[in-house]
Symmetry: C2
Subunit: 370 residues, 2 copies
């Protein structure tokens, strides 16, 4: 059985337990995860899949017909969307046999307009049940193949940093650093997970500083933050490291050492069975107790097919840590108009139930010079 | 009055005409268009704006606090989202003064989950009206500044092709061509509008061929399709051109000449007051009458802040052509497992009501050689 078929079996188990007869996938990443169909981009919204107890109907149009046909099997049926036969027409046809009474859909993804069109076409025939995170929930537990893809993405990212960091000198701009990282990743045939955040000094106090619109340039005493990731075979990595050019105030050295200590301690506290919000709380509290302002973002986020996916590592995360999970730990210190620092790693919970640092670039704040 | 403020005034006019007291923006591009707030990416869904008759409330969290504060004025208020005070809490507070009874929202964008959370929090206090394309509709008419941005994006794209095409030789791969286009655009500090589609021979019969996963390589007689665009100051261009290496069968030469003739004729037929679906029909019918299979996509699409936006040029497009519109015309011939060709330009309807070709790269199929 292909791994897509195995994943569909798991989804069937989950939706049956929730008294659903079928499930409509609309999310780009879930569509890819459960069927292997890779459409152009998440904004397209022109491909869907209906998973029933026995079958998987792939709805897409002529642009992806060849790819969809290649995925067909006894279980997977390509249901081509055309001007005259759209999704609603297909769905009405498929539920006519009377075995499908309740269909689950992705409440977090389906737009109101899509839902309203579906609901008005189907009143009485069957009910549509909103569900949250059913597909994303299954994706939180990565199989060994997926962890290997993420591990490789992390390794590519580490090597990329090793190659590019030595090219940074006096006068190098934030944009040049981002561009070199990007070129280096793409020359090897890989992709960036997201636009790198390369931020100097006070720019780094903005957690999502827009490097492309910035003008920062390396000078003596510059404090540099690099936050970047690689996409390898659709799987992502994410890492943040700090650097300084030639000299750094003892205030900033001390702040970084404390940040690093707290980040390492947080990772060491990861154990199967703990609730993620406790991990968030320990990290956050430690930093506040050390005299720093609370960072205004989650302590970490799940990562896989998406850069940000379940489970979050936040004050409201009720998920229990399990083998197969992959998430980041990334506390930060942000002093507006002064400086910012963040230390981030991608961590996998392997079958030995120990946290495995997938990103291995050294954590010490690195001194750069001409 | 800033142009964002002017745009908000137009939105107020439209939503008032539709008996709404306020409008909730959730779409990434509309948020940027009406307020100037540029968050990280469309998938984030953590920034919103409420436009009332007098005010504009910008809802975003600490990561964008600095940017939001910079946009404040007597009319624009930054309403910071925090753990303890999320969007719902803010909205409830703002409608307490009793002047807001009906709020419009973006039905095409707000997810079911977001809508359900809002509706259950507000039952009785005020009603939420689904609307489609209110923001996107206003964006279909570009002001001269926007057309200038698109014109510049197109020029950058044309120059990029001029520089990169001569580097293509025997053995150059599809991926190398895409990489060179990307690097050339980014070295100059611009961005790609989307991943270039670079497709050889039968690969081009897949309208959204995935170049990154392909293995095509230039050989004698190769027919090459390049579909790419540039983002300049957030505005996009889109162009498709055909090339061949050293020789081309007379069958393909003839097919291209007919495609080119039909595309040019379609553009010449553009006039203010015509309905877009007529333009689509004329183009489509001409190609079928010339003996080619019907292409399975729209004849064109609006372009601006998004690569694909309103108005579509499709069999169901009821929009009337007006000055300020910018859209593509891109018929294609696709013969599965054989070859594919497409000719695409970005066209602006200028104040003289004549269609202006914004992309100017020569339309003749270009011969390449070693």
């Amino acid at each position: 059985m292909s791994y897509h078929a195995k994943r569909r079996e798991m989804l069937r188990r989950v939706f049956s337990q929730n008294n659903l007869d079928a499930y409509l996938l609309s999310d780009f990443y879930n569509l890819f995860y459960f069927t292997g169909l890779h459409t152009l981009a998440p904004e397209e919204r022109e491909s869907f899949a209906l998973i029933t107890r026995e079958k998987c109907f792939l709805f897409t149009d002529s642009r992806y017909a060849q790819e969809a046909r290649a995925l067909q099997s006894s279980e997977v049926i390509f249901a081509e969307l055309k001007q005259q036969k759209g999704l609603l027409t297909w769905l009405k046809e498929l539920i006519q046999d009377g075995t499908i009474h309740t269909i689950g859909f992705e409440e977090d993804n389906l737009t109101c307009a899509e839902y309203n069109a579906i609901a008005s076409a189907f009143s009485g025939d069957c009910t549509w049940e909103p569900t949250k995170g059913m597909g994303a929930g299954l994706r939180t537990i990565k199989d060994s193949h997926e962890i290997e893809m993420i591990r490789t993405a992390c390794q590519i990212g580490d090597r990329c940093l090793q190659e590019i960091i030595p090219t940074i000198g006096l006068g190098t701009t934030e944009r040049e650093i981002a561009f070199r990282l990007e070129m280096h990743v793409k020359q090897q045939g890989y992709d960036l997970a997201f636009d790198p955040i390369v931020a100097l000094d006070a720019h780094a106090s903005l957690p999502h500083y827009n490097t492309k619109q910035g003008n920062g340039m390396i000078a003596k005493g510059s404090l540099l933050l690099i936050d970047f990731g690689v996409t390898y075979q659709s799987y992502n990595s994410d890492i943040t490291r700090m650097f300084y050019f030639e000299e750094l105030s003892s205030e900033k050295h001390t702040a970084y050492e404390q940040l690093k200590k707290i980040q390492i301690q947080t990772i060491d506290k990861i154990q199967e069975g703990s609730v993620l919000k406790e991990l968030d709380e320990q990290c956050r509290t430690s930093l506040i107790q050390a005299g720093f302002p609370e960072y205004g973002h989650s302590t970490g986020h799940g990562i896989g097919l998406e850069v940000h996916e379940m489970p979050k590592v936040s004050p409201v995360s009720t998920e229990v840590i399990q083998p197969g999970m992959v998430f980041t730990i990334e506390p930060g210190i942000y002093l507006e108009n002064d400086f910012g620092m963040r230390l981030e790693d991608t961590i996998g919970i392997t079958s030995e139930n120990k946290p495995e640092l997938l990103t291995k670039y050294p954590k010490d704040i690195q001194r750069l010079s001409s």
